[in-house]
């Protein structure tokens, strides 16, 4: 569980740095939406944040890290899941980072409800898939 604790601590430090440094919530949903308003200078920080986020993978490999990505190859499932995640995080104004880490850390009732809801929805989805023969 050491990797999980260290990784989580790094995420917490990253979110703290962004908040104490420039007063922004490190929410990936907001970062993604910023891609569509690149002329809005007040959101340019998100593009720099995204650049750093993308660079993490090659840096991790350079440091000798291994990072398996095991997932379904079912295209229909991938598209359906992507659409749901994109649509859902937009109207719910956040995902695992903005609601799950920052919102919970701020003790926001709204974020706590959102976090509990998406975890329960995820648990139910996995349970249904695994008990119906499983597409994965």
């Amino acid at each position: 569980m050491t990797d999980e604790l260290i990784g989580g601590a790094l995420i917490g430090i990253a979110a703290s740095l962004l908040w104490l440094g420039i007063g922004r919530i490190s929410g990936m949903t907001g970062v993604i939406s910023s891609l569509f308003v690149v002329r809005d200078t007040s959101r340019h920080w998100a593009l720099w944040f995204l650049a750093g986020l993308l660079l993490a993978l090659p840096l991790f490999y350079l440091a000798g890290g291994e990072s398996p990505v095991e997932m379904t190859g079912n295209k229909t499932l991938l598209v359906a899941a992507g659409l749901l995640v994109g649509f859902g995080t937009y109207i719910g104004n956040g995902c695992t980072s903005g609601h799950g880490v920052c919102g919970m850390g701020r003790l926001s009732l709204r974020s706590m409800l959102a976090t509990i809801t998406f975890i329960v929805a995820g648990v139910v989805t996995v349970a249904v898939m695994n008990h119906s023969g499983g597409a994965l």
Binding site: G12, W45, V101, L109, L113, A121, A127
Partner: protein, 148 residues
Amino acid sequence: MTGKMSRAGIPVAFVSGVLFGLGLLISGMNNPAKVRAFLDLFGNWRPELIAVMGSAVVIFALAFQLSKKRRQPLCADAFHEPTLKKTDARLLTGAVMFGVGWGLVGLCPGPALVNILNLNPDVLLFIAALLVGNRLAHYLVGPVKAAK
């Protein structure tokens, strides 16, 4: 005046992105199979990922408390705390849709972005659909109206 960031804010945002990404990679949050095993509460449940959210939340909570004693961040003119407070059907509908999509494949937005440079076509397809979903919601539903 909001949104003003000093030049030093750029490296702050960049470094924060790198650290965030490394955190996702080290913890294994970017591996969909591990995430789905975490969500598999009624099967072969792997609870380790709780530690990721747990440690991240505690550290951010401390930073957030610390920020209450400051008028502004180090490299910008204001703290942009989210103003939405409503716990309404829109929030819950969005969270349910997100949770279902998350469970189907095991990817949420951050890990999907972190995985981009692997150039795995399945991850790229997921991200393309995610971007389409984001824009569909933007044009069909629109942003939350600023409410008092």
